[in-house]
Amino acid sequence: MSKRGFLNSLSVGKHLFGKPKTTCYPFTPKEPALRYRGFHLNDWDTCTGCGNCAEICPNDAIEMIEIAELESVPGMKNERPRLDYGRCCFCGLCVDICPPGSLRLSRDYFHTHFDTDTFVFTPRDDKADQEKFVPDESYSVLKASLSHRKRNYEGFSSDLDYALFEPERVPMPEIPPTERKLSFVEQVIGYSKEEAVHEAARCLGCGLCEDACPAHMKISDYILAVYNDEPEESLRKIYEDNPIPAICGRLCMKHCEDACALRLRGEPVAIRWLKRFVSDSIRDYKTVLEQAPGQPTGKKVGVVGAGPGGLSVAYFLRLMGHEVVVFDELEGGGGMIRVGPPRYRLPLASIDKDVDYIASLGVDFRFNTRVGKDVSFEGLRQEFDAVYLGVGLTKSRSTGVDNSEKCGLALDFLRKNKTDRPTAVTKEIVVIGGGNVAMDVAREALRLQQIQHPGEKTVTRMVSLEDWDEMPATSEEIEETREEGIEFNPAWGPKKVLLDDGGNVKGLLCMKVKSVFDDEGRFAPTFREDEEMVLEGTMIIEAIGQGPDFSFVPEGEFEKMEFTAMRKVSVDEDGMTSLPGVFAGGDIVNINLDAVTAIADAKIASEGIHRWMQSK
């Protein structure tokens, strides 16, 4: 360490002539990195208000607050996250878990103030909040703050590969189309245990689905129970609102999955299949549920129709301790559910499993007894303290074109197939209609053709007024039907049934449809007279919708019943019709036409009946 060691450190003087290294901020601006984690931006249109960001925030900096000007819609609450920048640590966990990806961080980070209240901030983005996000020319760094920010200055934003939730659903094992069209065995095989736990792990527990479900089932609770590997606890949670899980597990219109927070950038949680997994994995409900009917109240309730509505009313009232008798003309429970859906979607065993459990609670089921024929409606009203109408839509409508009496009706066709003597089908069948029932009819006809004419060439055709995008059937249903090779003729209307000289059906003369609905959206089809087509077919089945059958109500009473504009039975908030003591619910009251809305009506009606009977 000679003296030179001291002197040669002066050689560093060469840096005197280099470029100055100081960044003279704020005069020479410095752009933050593209991924910088600054203040929040939230796109209020895609934000569902699910609250997962508030749930994941490690410092409780995010609080969901009600926004008056937004209105709450199933799948979109009117709550938006509010940030407290006195707590936030800018970690970006909320951005990574935001299912719709609406919450992201910007590259703004300037905010200085002496008052701590200004650090609480409800983020919006420059699309919606023009006066806070100023254009570049009027943006000045010295005035920058939470209320003076730059436009499209996006920083750290969500990326699906690194999201904290699992966008893809656990694939559900199914029987492939070629194999499933040969038999009536159940198409969806169902989740195994660890598949169900893995799927249940995807649920973030935000509760959007519970608001969307007509019956307001406790969905996040029972999915959490499936995740914790306790199917018993999960079944108890289901049974608090829905007494027919096996049926709903296979059939529900799943409003909840349309509202699931994960739907926007991934597949929603398979809530219906998880409910089915729970009901399948428990052999005997009774041992698990230990539900005992309440103290007998000495009151008796008659239920007309053992459909989802009737079964639920019976279940809820039985738990309250009332005597319940259910009348149904079919040989088993389920009502329209027993007749309509084919066995490859809903095996009869599942229906009976739910119905038998309700029966085991002491509900008296009287099958093969049609009210109005074997038992009179008036007799019912005297014998029972209250009556519940859960009859559903049982009459199939016909197109009314000439020779239409030669065609089969959808519900009779489906009902006959449930018995041991299914309908004899020919090799060429034409099905009229575009709804879910028409799809079921066509697919059942296809299977009967394979069974009754093995090896021969068979054709199943569908003709529907509606075009591809207007068909009322669900897209899954249409997709599955096309997979099985059924021919579609959308936007054609039936004109005349052609008969051969022997008087039996030869084909269907069809006309091209110009439009189905008029400008107010009412069903008023118009046709192009010049364009016609003949569809060969030795058998035609009409599946164009069902109507209610009130023939069992005597004339005098029927006038007193009031109906709504949509020709539905009008009921008060307790579910009581205009006839005192007569309650109603299900497809004859609401327009949703699905099982879970019938259950929701049944819950309301059962409380209504209970209050009404106590007040009597």
Binding site: T22, P26, G86, R87, C89, Y109, F110, T112, H113, T116
Partner: protein, 192 residues
């Protein structure tokens, strides 16, 4: 910037000179101190704004409280703050001084700092960047111009309340109250 406005220099030279020579006391109170060295060294160079770290509280008039304040540090902060000559300004760095930040549920950190000593300005961030610190300094200038940076006057006026809060947390404090209430009110009147 109003650096070249001559009139201001003539009208209130002490305030202007005071504004451009903010000496920050060299006390690293919390985890925000990691952003102070880059600010005072060559890359960002806070000296362009007149902010220079000084050794002791006696020569300082700016107190940067960087980050969360634990109970033991609160004692040191209050002591340092009270040793600083007036006029003095305090700036709270980051979320922890505003509403507890990440350690809002910790048994050893205080949540709102302005319950114990007056704060003239908070900077958002966890940790505020050097650029945010410079913009905050410009905001402090405007506050000083408008005489709104009056933390120390508020401290003197409500000293009893501040002292009470401090003793609620720190128990007995080993130095007596620095303002007898009569003396404090006398100074405030004189200053008007």
């Amino acid at each position: 910037m109003d650096r070249n406005q001559l009139m201001k220099w003539i009208k209130a030279p002490t305030k202007m000179a005071h504004k451009y020579s903010l000496n920050a006391v060299y006390f690293c109170t919390g985890c925000g101190v990691i952003e102070v060295p880059p600010t005072i060294t060559s890359r960002w160079d806070a000296e362009r704004f007149g902010v220079v770290p000084t050794a002791t509280a006696r020569q300082a008039n700016l107190f940067l409280i960087t980050g969360y304040v634990s109970v033991k540090t609160l004692r040191a902060i209050i002591r340092t703050y009270e040793q600083m000559p007036e006029p003095k300004y305090t700036v709270g760095f980051g979320s922890c001084t505003i509403n507890g930040g990440m350690y809002w549920d910790s048994y050893n950190t205080i949540n709102q700092l302005d319950k114990y000593i007056p704060i003239d300005g908070y900077i958002a961030g966890c940790m505020p960047r050097p650029e945010a610190i410079f913009v905050a300094v410009t905001h402090l200038w405007t506050l000083i111009d408008k005489d709104m940076a009056d933390g120390y006057k508020r401290y003197r006026k409500n000293y009893a309340a501040y002292r009470a809060n401090q003793e609620m947390i720190l128990g007995e404090m080993e130095w007596p109250p620095i303002f007898q209430t009569e003396v404090a009110t006398a100074i405030t009147e004189r200053e008007g």
